[in-house]
């Protein structure tokens, strides 16, 4: 979680320095969902994710340097710089295809599950998407197929509450969805569904692990809605950091500007987790501070690697249109 947080904060700094173009989406505020969820999978399982994918790749062990490089459009990026922030994929880690089209991955993930069932390889497909995806017809169509054909896919809806760019604000459900709770939708299609607190790492791990094993066992699809409070820094398509993360925020939020303090004090899953570790005597403040120090060094090295990576040759644009 620390790694993801510092990766994203560094990425925001890189963008503000003009190191890459276009808008992008940070995973900050959802770390306690992505990390335990990805840790619940086996090595050869598949994951499909969206425009908000950085946290999922890192949680799966992706190299922050190559991920930075991809987002900077460099040759060493996972997609050779052809995909960028919205499409970072790492097939070796089970990320076959990352789509920036809202709900685009629901049918694709359902298809990967169809293949696993046909090939009897016991692989599970995890499909991570946002609450907004349920507004697209692709979602109910895919839920119907997954349910009818009992496919080994786990739908993980990361409900981060409110979408920043121009959507009306809303409470925990999407502002533009009549179905509430969102889990009424999968339930209508006879897919067992549960709602959990996405900021509670332990709850996420327990629930997702259980669902993964049910799915792997052939029970058919499962649906989990993980609810998180949206990070105040993501209110536009260009994230801004209200307060640079520093583990000391876990016990002292005075450096946080008033308008954002509420979130850091009550909702930041990273800080919640750190407080749990300390209160549970699993780690001391010093140990965590030291860990953060190492993570920051690692991120700095990764950023340097990416910035040093050359751009692809222009002619590279003509390659990879067709396979073989």
């Amino acid at each position: 979680m620390l790694l993801i947080r510092h990766f994203e904060e560094r990425l925001i700094a890189l963008h503000d320095d003009g190191a890459f173009r276009g808008h992008y989406h940070a995973y900050i505020g959802q770390e306690a969902t992505g990390v335990p969820a990805l840790c619940s999978l086996a090595a050869d399982d598949y994951i499909f994710t969206t425009h908000r994918n950085h946290g999922h790749l890192l949680a799966r062990g992706a190299d922050p340097g190559r991920l930075f490089a991809e987002i900077l459009g460099r040759r060493d990026g996972y997609n050779k710089g052809k995909g960028g922030s919205f499409h970072s994929a790492a097939a070796a880690l089970g990320f076959l295809h990352t789509s920036g089209v809202v709900a685009g991955i629901l049918p694709l993930a359902t298809g990967a599950a169809y293949a696993s069932k046909a090939l009897k390889n016991r692989r599970v497909t995890l499909c991570c998407f946002g609450d907004g995806a349920l507004e697209e017809g692709a979602a109910p169509e895919a839920l119907n197929l997954a349910s009818l054909w009992k496919l080994p896919v786990l739908f993980l809806c990361e409900n981060n509450g409110k979408y920043g760019a121009g959507r009306a604000s809303g409470s925990s459900q999407s502002a533009s969805m009549a179905a509430y709770p969102l889990t009424d939708l999968p339930r209508a299609y006879k897919i067992p569904a549960r709602e959990i607190d996405g900021a509670d790492a332990n709850a996420v791990y327990a629930t997702v692990s259980e669902a993964v094993e049910e799915v792997r066992g052939g029970a058919g699809p499962r649906f989990i809605e993980a609810q998180t409070v949206r990070w105040p820094g993501s209110e536009t398509n260009w994230p801004t950091v209200p307060a640079p993360t520093n583990v000391s925020l876990a016990w002292d939020v005075n450096f946080v500007p008033d308008n954002a303090r509420e979130w850091y004090r009550l909702s930041d899953p990273l800080l919640i987790f750190i407080r749990e570790l300390i209160e549970g005597r699993h780690a001391t403040r010093e140990e965590i501070a030291r860990l953060e120090h190492e993570v920051k060094d690692q991120i700095e090295a990764a950023a340097r690697f990416a910035l040093a990576s050359p751009y692809p040759d222009p002619e590279e644009a003509l390659k990879d249109v067709f396979a073989s």
């Binding site: 598949y46 499909f48 990026g77 996972y78 997609n79 050779k80 710089g81 052809k82 995909g83 499409h87 994929a89 790492a90 097939a91 076959l96 295809h97 789509s99 089209v101 685009g104 629901l106 049918p107 694709l108 993930a109 359902t110 298809g111 990967a112 599950a113 169809y114 293949a115 696993s116 046909a118 090939l119 692989r123 497909t125 017809g137 692709a138 169509e141 895919a142 119907n144 197929l145 009818l148 054909w149 390659k319 990879d320 249109v321 067709f322 396979a323 073989s324």
Partner: protein, 323 residues
């Protein structure tokens, strides 16, 4: 060589690809359209119950499902039946499948085949007569196949299944009864190899899909008028065998392009543009297009015939070009 009906050759190909490769799955089952022969498909459905799926009316999801399954190791063939229904699946076909290999930097292949019947089927009216291949040619990353004979439908379907890329298999109901020679032995036809369907000296007709058969009929009539027509069938638009097309155009110096997509930004437009760029000074007469007129497809028979690339319109274009 033995002679088969087009639908028999196509059905044989389906049987053979299913037998040859366990990874081949069929999503949907109107590969023989609504023709009486569709019952043949029952045989396949019964022999491979686990590899032939009857999906809900969810083109978007089942085409995406097939694409995702292709990414994860299968070689699915998806059937949209009427070509117009691929529009429901447009985001998955043009924004997911077409981009998957490129966007992933060559990491992920999506060897899926999208099957459909395009064109004027007789009474299909505006919503059931689409020829989406021109729109699809404007989307890089898709292979596009247009069989026009029993031999081609068998050989091209085999290659489509072997291809590692998303492939549009664009068929036409009016071809199903066409008879022609089909080699006994399994003979895949490579993509990107145009086929001269008729040799001639006076003028080149480039025709696709069912328009190949229609042009052949016209050519016979015009032979009686002393016009010797050469007919070249690209067979695949992507990849396109332009050299073979251009060689014929340079030989005859005259060309008519016959295709059933609507005229504006249609298949004939692209072929015309390439010829104009390359063959400008080789042409003895202006190139001509015979395409479906730019109106929605009307239901009433005489109206549908009027907008179609009919034998009459093809013959007139050829006569005008040789004049």
């Amino acid at each position: 060589m033995r002679e088969l009906a087009y639908y028999e050759a196509k059905f044989e190909a389906l049987r053979e690809v299913l037998a040859a490769d366990e990874r081949v799955h069929l999503i949907g089952g109107t590969f023989l359209s609504l023709s009486p022969h569709r019952k043949l498909f029952q045989e396949i459905a019964e022999r491979y119950p686990d590899r032939v799926a009857a999906p809900p009316i969810s083109e978007l999801a089942f085409s995406g499902l097939a694409t995702g399954a292709a990414m994860a190791g299968l070689r699915p063939i998806v059937d949209f039946s009427t070509g117009s229904f691929i529009f429901e699946a447009w985001p998955q076909v043009v924004n997911e499948a077409a981009n998957a290999f490129y966007m992933s930097g060559g990491q992920t292949r999506a060897p899926v085949v999208f099957h459909l019947f395009h064109g004027l089927r007789g009474g299909g009216a505006a919503q059931h007569s689409a020829s989406p291949q021109a729109m699809l040619w404007n989307c890089p990353g898709l292979e596009i196949v247009l069989p026009a004979s029993p031999r081609d439908v068998k050989g091209l379907l085999k290659t489509a299944v072997q291809s590692d890329n998303p492939t549009l298999f664009v068929d036409h109901v009016q071809l199903l009864e066409t008879r022609g020679p089909v080699p006994e032995k399994d003979e895949a036809i490579p993509f990107g190899v145009a086929d001269v369907k008729r040799r001639g000296a006076d003028i080149t007709v480039i025709a696709t899909s069912y328009m190949v058969q229609r042009s052949l009929a016209v050519a016979e009539r015009l032979a009686g008028e002393g016009i010797d027509v050469e007919i070249v069938d690209p067979r695949t638009l992507v990849p396109l065998d332009f050299p073979t097309l251009m060689a014929s155009v340079e030989k005859t110096g005259r060309v008519v392009i016959v295709d059933e997509t609507h005229q504006s930004c249609g298949v004939a437009a692209e072929l015309a543009a390439r010829i104009a760029e390359a063959g400008f000074d080789r042409l003895k007469a202006p190139l001509r297009r015979v395409a479906t007129l730019d109106v929605p497809v009307p239901y009433s028979e005489p109206l549908e015939d009027f907008i179609a690339p009919s034998e009459t319109r093809i013959a007139e274009a050829v006569r005008a070009a040789v004049r």
